[in-house]
Symmetry: D2
Subunit: 345 residues, 4 copies
Amino acid sequence: MSSSGMRSPTLRVGIVGLGRLGRRHAENLMTRVAGATLVAACSPLPAELEWARDTLALPHLYSDYAALLAHEGLDAVFLVTPTSLHPQQIIQALQAGKHVFCEKPLSLDLKDCLRVSAEAARHPQLKLMIGFVRRFDASYRDAYNKIQQGAIGSPFMVYSQTCDQYDPDGFFVKFAATSGGIFLDCSVHDIDLARWLLGNPQAVRVYASGTRAMHRDLQQFQDVDNGVAICEFDNGSIATFYASRTTRHGHDTMTEITGTAGRLTVGANPRSNRVEIADIHGVRNECLPSFFERFEEAFLIEVSSFVDAIRHDKKLDLTLVDATEATRIGIALRESLLSRQSVLL
Amino acid sequence: MSSSGMRSPTLRVGIVGLGRLGRRHAENLMTRVAGATLVAACSPLPAELEWARDTLALPHLYSDYAALLAHEGLDAVFLVTPTSLHPQQIIQALQAGKHVFCEKPLSLDLKDCLRVSAEAARHPQLKLMIGFVRRFDASYRDAYNKIQQGAIGSPFMVYSQTCDQYDPDGFFVKFAATSGGIFLDCSVHDIDLARWLLGNPQAVRVYASGTRAMHRDLQQFQDVDNGVAICEFDNGSIATFYASRTTRHGHDTMTEITGTAGRLTVGANPRSNRVEIADIHGVRNECLPSFFERFEEAFLIEVSSFVDAIRHDKKLDLTLVDATEATRIGIALRESLLSRQSVLL
Amino acid sequence: MSSSGMRSPTLRVGIVGLGRLGRRHAENLMTRVAGATLVAACSPLPAELEWARDTLALPHLYSDYAALLAHEGLDAVFLVTPTSLHPQQIIQALQAGKHVFCEKPLSLDLKDCLRVSAEAARHPQLKLMIGFVRRFDASYRDAYNKIQQGAIGSPFMVYSQTCDQYDPDGFFVKFAATSGGIFLDCSVHDIDLARWLLGNPQAVRVYASGTRAMHRDLQQFQDVDNGVAICEFDNGSIATFYASRTTRHGHDTMTEITGTAGRLTVGANPRSNRVEIADIHGVRNECLPSFFERFEEAFLIEVSSFVDAIRHDKKLDLTLVDATEATRIGIALRESLLSRQSVLL
Amino acid sequence: MSSSGMRSPTLRVGIVGLGRLGRRHAENLMTRVAGATLVAACSPLPAELEWARDTLALPHLYSDYAALLAHEGLDAVFLVTPTSLHPQQIIQALQAGKHVFCEKPLSLDLKDCLRVSAEAARHPQLKLMIGFVRRFDASYRDAYNKIQQGAIGSPFMVYSQTCDQYDPDGFFVKFAATSGGIFLDCSVHDIDLARWLLGNPQAVRVYASGTRAMHRDLQQFQDVDNGVAICEFDNGSIATFYASRTTRHGHDTMTEITGTAGRLTVGANPRSNRVEIADIHGVRNECLPSFFERFEEAFLIEVSSFVDAIRHDKKLDLTLVDATEATRIGIALRESLLSRQSVLL
C-alpha cells in the first residue's frame, strides 16, 4: 500500500518463533495484512531462520531476542513462543517500547499474568493483545453480534468444546509436562468465549472431571485426554466445557449459547467445505482436520485487527483482564480435576 | 372397536394380492386400522394364501376373484395386483357393489383409465381410490398445508425425484416388460405430487430424456435406469422429474416446491432415523433402504383415510381424474423419451 | 388376533390414571398392541372415567384401586399415576399377582425403591417394568446396537440433555413441589440412557449446578429451570447432563455417546418431520413441540415389548436395579445442587 | 515479494472495468495475489477511475483502452467489461502481446467465440482465460478431485442450479436486453461445471423451458425469471439445469453429480457461515446473499492461478474450447426456450 502523508505509516513487525503457527503469522504479515510489513524474525532454531530466509526472503534474522528488540525502527513484535516464555518476553518488549501480540495463553501462572498487567499499565500508549483467535472468526463474531442485538434474549448458558483429532503419535503428550494440562491448553479458548458471549460475568465456582480414554501415559503428568467442567458465574449464568484429544472425525470446536429467547450454535458440524457425499456409508461430509484449517481466516483477521488498532489507535476489545481471567479459571479447573472437589474463585 | 348403534359398522374388507405390499396392507387392516376388519383374501398363488392362513389366521381364502367378490357381507376390496389387471378388477368390484382401493398406477393405458372412470360414474355411492401413498405421508401433508396457508406465496416450480437403491440383482428388470418404464413406474408418484402441490394445473407439454448407467439390458425394453423430464403446465408452472434405479445411498424420494415467497423441500436427506455418526468417514447418517420404510406410516394413514371416507361418506381428495392425469402424463413422458421430441398433451 | 391353542392367551390389562400419557397407553392397548386387551380402567377423577367410557367404550371402570386389582381375570396393571403413589401401588399389584408396568420414575425415595425391589423378589414369576421410554425409541435402540457392535469402539463419555419447550403458563411449576426437582423429573431419563449406553457402570461422584433463567418462582421449591451436572462412573467414564424448562424452539432431547473410535448423536436437531423451509428466515426446519410427539412410536414399542415379555416369559432388559440407580443418582444431583459440593455415591 | 534472480518477475497488470466485480479483482491484485501487481486501470467512467486513484492510490489511469494496452511494461489485462465488448477487447490485447483474463461469458455470439479462438491460436505464448470462477472454488475443486479419484464411480448425471436472491428493484431486468437471457447469463456457469465434472462430453441435444413468476416485464425481452433445461451428451450422460432470479432465502448455487458408485453435492444449503439459530422459527441458518460472498475466496484463487500459470508457463485447465462450448450450449437453450422444441447441436 502507499505510504502517502494521509495514511499512517506501515507498521514494521518482528516475529519471534517460527513453528507452524508462527509461520502462518509470518506469511500473513508478509503478504496479506494491509498496513504492516514483516521486517525481521527471531528464533533459537537455525532451521526456523533458514525457512524465513528461503521462503520469505527476510533479510534480518536473529537468534537473540534482545537483538531483535534492538532492530532499528521496529514497531511491534509477535510472540509465537512457548507459554513459559510469554511473561518475560512481553515485559521486555514493552520496556523496549514495542507493541506486542502474543499467542494464548498469557501464562500458566497467575502471578505472571499480574506482573504483565502491571508492566502494561506503565505503557498505556502500547498495544498488547493475547491471541484468542476465535473471537476473530466470522461465525463467532456473527454470534456475538446477534447476542448484542438481542437475538436470543438474555444469554445464561454456554456449552463449549474443543476437541482435537486423535493423533496416533500422541504428539501432544510430549508437551503435557509444560502445557498446563487439557483445560489450560484447550479449554482456555472456551473459557474466553464463554466470558465474552455471556457479557463478562465473574466466575465464582468450578468443578472439573476427566478421564484417560486412550493416552494412559498422561497419568505421569496428572493430565487427562478428555475433560469436562462446569463453571458458575456471579450473575447466575453457567458454562459447561468439554475438551478432548481423541476425536476421530476431525477437529471439532463447537459452542452453544442459550438465552431466554433462543439458542445459537457455532460449528455444530465441523464440515471441511460445502461438499456432501452420498454413498454406501450414507450421507456425509468430511471434517476439518485441525484448528489450523478451522481458523485459517480468523488468524488473518486477528492480525489485521491488531495492526489496525495500532495504526489508528483503537481500543482493543480483548484485554489483559480477559487473558488473566482465562488463566485464572483454567488453573481452578485443573485444581478441581486433581482435588475432585469444587473450587471457589 | 365396539360396534354399538352409535357407530358405523365395521367395514368388512377382502384383499387381493399378498406380495410384499399386499401383506403390509393386510396386516394394517388386521390390527391397526380402526373401523375395518380383514375378512378374506384372494390370490392365485398358494404360498400367499398359506401366509394369510398361518400369519393372520384368516379363515376365508380364495383363489378366484369372482368368488371373493361373492363373499357374504363383503364391503370393500383392496387390489394389490399387477397393473394390467387393475381396470378389469376395479370394474368387476364396482359392478358387485364393493368399494375399491387399488394400488397405483390405475393403468398404463389411457383408454382403460377412461373405462374405469365411466364405470365409477355409474356407482356414485361407492368409493374408489388409487393409492398414491405419498399424499398421506405426514411430511408431504405438512408441505401441502403450508402451501394452502400461503407459506411460500404462489407455487410455480416443482422438482421431484424417486430414486431407488441400486439392486445388484436387478430385480426390477424382470418387470421392465410390463412396468410401463421408469416414468410410469416411478415418476407417476412425482407427477401426482406436482399436480397436487401446484393446485392441479393442466399439463400441456413434456420432454424426457434418460440413460442406462448400469442396467444395459434395459435396452431390449426401450427403458432406462435414470430418467429426467420437464413438464409444463397451462398456468405457466413447471415440474422437473428425476427417477433412478441406481442410487447407492438408499431410497431417495425428494420433492422441492418453489413459490414466490419461499421454497419447501420434503425429504432432502433420506435419514433412516435420528442417529448421526461421527467417525473416520466424517459426519454422516444412514439412509432409508426403500420406499417401504420411507412410507411405512403413510401406508397406514392412507388405508385409514380410505376406510374413514367410506364409513362417514366423506369426499376423497384423491380422485380418478388425478389417477388418470398421472397416467396420461407418464405416457407422454415415455413417448418423449422414445421420440426425443417434446410431446404436446 | 386369534386366541388359538398354539398362542399365548391375550393379556387382560387394567390401566390406572388417564391423564395425557395414560390415555395414550390406553389407546395403544386398545387398538395397536397385539396380544393385549384393555379390560378396565381406574381413576379417582370422574372426568377420566367418562373419557374411558365414551372414547374407548370401556365397560369396567373403577374409582378404587383395590377394586380394579380384584377385577376378574385381570393379568396386568399399567400405573400412570403420581410418582408418590408408585411404590405402594406396585407392591399391592404384585401381592395381588399382577404384572406391573409403571411410569418413570419408580420413586423419589431410595428406601421406597428398595421396598419395591424386595417385594418384586418375592414374585419372580411376575414382570415389573418402569417406563424409561427412550430405550424403546428406534433411534436410541439403533445407537445402542451400534455400540454393541463396536461402531464407536469403547464408549467413555455421554452428553445427554432433556430440554422442554418454554411454557409461558409455567404449568410444570405447579408440580415443582412434588416432582423431585429438575434432575429427578427430567434428567432421570438421561441418567438411565447414560448407564445403558455406557454398559451399566457404577456412579461414584456427581456435581450439579443450575439457574433460574425465567421461572424465578421456583426458588420457593429450591428448584431451577436450567440445570447441568457431571456424573463420574467407577470405570472412568463420565456423563454430562443438561435439563431445561425454557427451550424456545421445541422439545430438544439429545444424547451424544463418544467412544475410542467415534461418536454417535441421537436427536441432534429435533426436526418435526422431513420438511425444510427456505425463505427470508434462511433455511430451517420446525421442531417437535414435546416428548409426546418425539416418543410417540416409542411408547407403543415399549408397551408391546412389555406385553411380549409377559406372554413369552422373556427377560426384561430394563430392570428394577436400573430404575433404582436412576433415582439414586438423581437424588445425589439434587443434593449437589443444594450443597454446591460434589457428592459421593 | 522479492524479485530476486531465482524468481519470475512480478507480473504487471492493467484492469479494465471497475464495477463491483472489477473492484474486487483490483483489490485482490493489489494486496493479495503473490507475483502480480496492479499498475494501471482503464474505464470510460470517471467515477471508477476516481475510486482507483483514491482507494488504491493507483497512479496510471486511462479512459482509453488502446492507451492502456500501450502502457509501458504492461504484461496482462483483466477485462471486467460488458460481454459485448469481450471479443474485440481480447483480440486487441492479444495483438498487443498481452496475457488476458476475461470475465465470463466469452461472448453471446458463437462466431465471435471462434474469432477469438483463431486469434489466440496465433499467440500460443500468451495465456487467455475466461473467468468461470466456480472451477476455482475449494468445494467444487474437492468434488472434481474426488471424481478423478473414483469416489463416485463413473459420473453420468448432473443437476446444477444458479438461483439469485430476489431483488425487488429488479436490477437485472435493466440488463435483460443485453445479458443474453437467463441461460447465457446464469446457467452458463452450470453448463461449464457439468462439462467439467462429466469429463468434457459433447452436447448433442437440449430442451429448455421457463416461466415469469414475478418479473412479468421480462416478456419484452423474451426472457424468463425461472428456467429449467435438459442437456444430453454424446456419451449418454445428462445434465439438468435450473436458474432463478426470484429466490427468497439468498443466493443458492448448488450442483449434484451422480455416478455409478455415489453422488456428490456441492452447496446443498447455502449457509452464510457456521452459525445455527434455534428459536421460535425452528432450527435454521442464514444464507449467503449473492455469488459475491459465495465465491469470495474463489475469485482470489482464480486470479492467483492465472498469474501463476503465466509466471511458470503452466497449461490452463480452463480452455477457450470450454468457454466456446458454454456459449454454444447456452445459445441452444435460449433457442429451445423460444421454439418450445428440443434443439440439436
